[in-house]
Chain length 338, copies 4
């Protein structure tokens, strides 16, 4: 951390800042320039609250010069993290992984039809929601554990791994037998208690970026899971809120190469939530693979218009099959397979 003092800061002000820095447990290196005094913190700065120093009298600005995350940083594993699943599928390797399924698991026929489609298209991951955070109290709330059982069966028949969203700590234990990967939704990206608990689990976690979260905040949230000893975290870009209203969110495709540069963790893109519109899923899925995504997360349904949730952004199974074929050539164009 570097604290830059104002040009007219007094010696008393400088001393007061130094005192607060020392109390915070760091050593201080002072550089007294002709114009400006600079105080550099040396030592354990990762947990420091910078804003605490910004409001001290005489301070001009404060900057963090080391990344606030360690375990998530690229330097921790320069060659990148690859995550293996029980069905042999890998995320983070040469092959771009396809994760697909319905917003909500609805019934036996729906999830089995979808699982078969995923397999035929060459996908290796089935994703379905069993616990739904719905904005209307009258909307479908999910099938819960019985839904997860259905998904597990459908996945096993087709050799797929399963992904499902966990919303509360209390659900983790019950979900363990049925899911191969826990998804943390955008609204829970900073539910630190949940993240900490998932750090104790020994199954991969797919962590979605919050709708107004910065890339740095996403990496800080992943650090919570990593610091518990669970190194199998997948980061997910799914659209951020901007002033543009033509799409529900603005999908930040540039987050993909930025995350790949800053971190060793695999990156998955969710063009369904990222655009909110079925007709935009295909071009944005292609863009994501072209930009370096390690996996895609796509909502599909045999009767998309009748999906009990997220109908507008859900693809039909035949459109999904066509998209997968097109994505294969994009993947090859960037030196990968799918």
């Amino acid at each position: 951390m570097i604290v830059a003092m104002q040009e007219n800061a007094t010696e008393e002000q400088i001393d007061a800042v130094i005192d607060v820095m020392l109390e915070s447990g760091v050593n201080v290196h002072r550089t007294t320039g002709a114009m400006q005094t600079i105080l550099a913190a040396v030592g354990p700065t990762a947990g420091l609250d910078l804003s605490k120093f910004e409001v001290l009298p005489g301070v001009l600005n404060v900057h963090r010069i080391s990344a606030p995350y360690k375990l998530a940083g690229r330097a921790f594993r320069p060659h990148g993290t690859t995550i293996e699943f029980p069905n042999g599928a890998v995320i983070g390797g040469e092959q771009v992984a396809m994760i697909a399924g319905p917003c909500s698991i609805e019934n036996h026929d729906q999830i089995f039809a979808i699982a078969a489609s995923v397999k035929v298209a060459g996908g290796k991951f089935l994703r379905g929601g069993a616990f739904k955070p719905r904005s209307s109290p009258y909307a479908f709330q999910g099938l819960g554990i019985p839904g997860l059982k259905l998904m597990r069966e459908a996945a096993d028949v087709n050799g797929l791994a399963t992904v499902s969203e966990v919303m509360e700590i209390a659900q983790i234990e019950a979900m363990l037998p049925y899911v191969d990967c826990f998804q943390v939704g955008a609204r829970n990206m900073q539910n630190f208690n949940l993240l900490r608990e998932l750090g104790q689990v020994r199954k991969p976690v797919l962590l979605k970026r919050g709708i107004a979260a910065t890339i740095e905040e996403l990496l800080l949230s992943s650090e919570y899971i990593l610091s518990g000893g669970n190194y199998d975290v997948i980061l997910c870009e799914r659209g951020i809120r901007t002033y543009e209203t033509a799409t529900r969110n603005t999908m930040d495709i540039s987050a993909i190469p930025v995350l790949k540069k800053l971190s060793h963790l695999p990156v998955v893109a969710d063009p369904s939530h990222g655009t909110g519109r079925r007709d935009m899923v295909a071009p944005m899925a292609k863009a994501a693979v072209a930009a370096g995504a390690d996996a895609l997360l796509i909502e599909i349904h045999p009767n998309a218009d009748k999906s009990v949730s997220d109908a507008a952004q859900t693809m039909y199974l035949e459109d999904f099959a066509r998209l997968t074929a097109e994505l294969r050539t994009i993947a090859q164009a960037v030196g990968r397979t799918l």
Copy 2:
């Protein structure tokens, strides 16, 4: 809901849209213009998912023409809602209410010193955090119920009502004896299960706007609580995320008059979180009262720089006393008391 078709939409496309509308449980009025066909939904449109119609072939755009909330709307109670507390204090009346306290309840002496300050300044509400959602796993996590007991005692001695944040459904029951008002934090604004549960409680709820939530979304969240029969909801503006970095958030002062126009619910402003900087709390508190806020929520601490959390935005007790005096004249200038 109005569905406007594209100029070149075919009869089949129009019929298909009408079918989906009818299946959604509304009646359809069709207007066939020289240029464009318009379909108006008549009936229960509040729960309709507009985006479902936007992606149908031939559709140009879809608009909601009635507000998606009913109970929160100004028309429901044109003269506004006033909320009375056991200590006789009122929010939503002529008097601007002052709610103040520490980010975290730390110990007996701290909370008693603060409570005494609030009383001396003329405030009637003591707010303190007992369950803290911290971004670092190593940070102070709050005193829990013992902290709430301390706050209750300190409040009773000084004739104050208490406000504290509830983070999970499981905490509600345990908090009931100690709090006069439940606060829902910005990160939980769309935790619909929690909101629904608070709709069953018969104590007021202070609902904070999410960091990237629109005013409409805030009102929709309040509708969750109201629809459970709990009409005592207070809406809170606490800063939104924008591209500007000079302040931690951008406090949306205009949300105050907009909310007062759209809704009958009282509005509280939180300049501490809204700015994130101690030196900006006073001007923004004044601005909020001038713009029509019914209450202020301010973080104070006898030793602000040493506060275990949110130090940068916490005021010293003596600065708070001075601010309260200044706010009194602002309140009078807009026809109110404080």
Copy 3:
């Protein structure tokens, strides 16, 4: 335009709104529902200022139901616009066009070296700045017309078309002999006098999206040029301002398919300005082509680090050659050439 009245709107309020609508030159269709009265404007609504109606007493909300642009709309030319240049190059056809060059034309050797590189890589457009809008008064301000002459020579030798930014109406005439396409920068996207004047020119215009402009505003600005009779407009996505700071701007890749759907005009992507970082240009260029861009605009320089302007986002010539080869396979994967 649809004006939805509040539920408790009075007859006088409704009549007053109808009067203002009639004065604005449209006919009014009134629908009186059990809950709500709806007023629909029939006639020439394109120029109406909606906010004028929103503030009238008793009005709940106002929606535009026809697109505010006509000539730019997809319906005007369902099969899309293709633009031919004197050197035989086409933008908007099957082939993805490559437009490249330096931020600023600096001297003979620089622009000739770059032009040769563009040709070798298979590009057909040379872009260079001669009039620079610089944020520092001490920075290089561009070579002006002599610079354009150099670029014209370098382009002709290599069979390239030229693109350069026009900043003021007064420059148009002087630039005409040297440029095949006028570029309008992001800061001038709503310089309506300049746009109107370019509508009288009979050379293509490349119109950049403003840093905080919506997709609709971009299309409205293009309408200015089109309405003057100049139908050869190319729309350019170059990044928008959001809360994210990891990249200089957030490149809105989804704007590409959205613009292709709403409009018949070709779309070019500028990953150099869109990211502001040399190391992000390649992945975002690939993403843009995968998402359907008709052309790319890329800043290159033989000695990028020493470029007199925009050094951080400028690619080296050898990196550009490699990128072009990689883009060719992406283009093929989406059924195009490059």
Copy 4:
């Protein structure tokens, strides 16, 4: 400027960064830590392009530690700038200045009626537009110089100073006899040629914040004018673009105290453009004065609904008179007059 290297940066990378720094004309102080090497630039860093260093291999991040503006900084004139006008009015002193007038000067009767209203209300500044940047080619484009003559007469009769927007360098000379203060609109905030030219003028300049401009960018733009020797610059907050759609822009009231802290220049607030709605002007005007604004800029018209431009945000004269009286008590409450 501080350049922080990555933990695994090589000696060659560090040397390469030092070379680029030296070439940029600064001296370099190197600190080699156990974990990280830090390079500090000493010397003339104001004009440095930080992004140029960010993309160099081995660099983790780059921070500016001195403010990029000098003349606009509070340290340059700790006691603040006050600007006197020929009619004796002052901006930046104890009295809050009221600047009011129509969006467009329309005719003799309109501008004389408005000027009389301003005088009666106690205002000392008449603002009117003569050159209009309109978004529609068919909209009223302003009366030009004849309009300014009318405004000058109306102002002189009532002892008012005049303010009008300048849109191009070519207009400055012609406007000089008629205006006491040049206004630079939000779209021209980064029209650096215009700013530089206004630096040569010896009349005050009212500089509006761009719709997506940061506070730092506004101060940098003011520096352009100041560096030409024109120290009479007034900064104007007029709303920024955010994701919120309930208001046209989000008026950033917190920019007022932040600007007052960072700079010595007076700050004016424009609640008319800041909200875009007539019914929000009064509460936001009060908020601005309470937060420390030195002046207000308000659009008024004897027949606001019929104003040829900006009708929705224009106040009626009688509402303006009432607002002025209410603002007087707010001004007193913050220790000022009006």
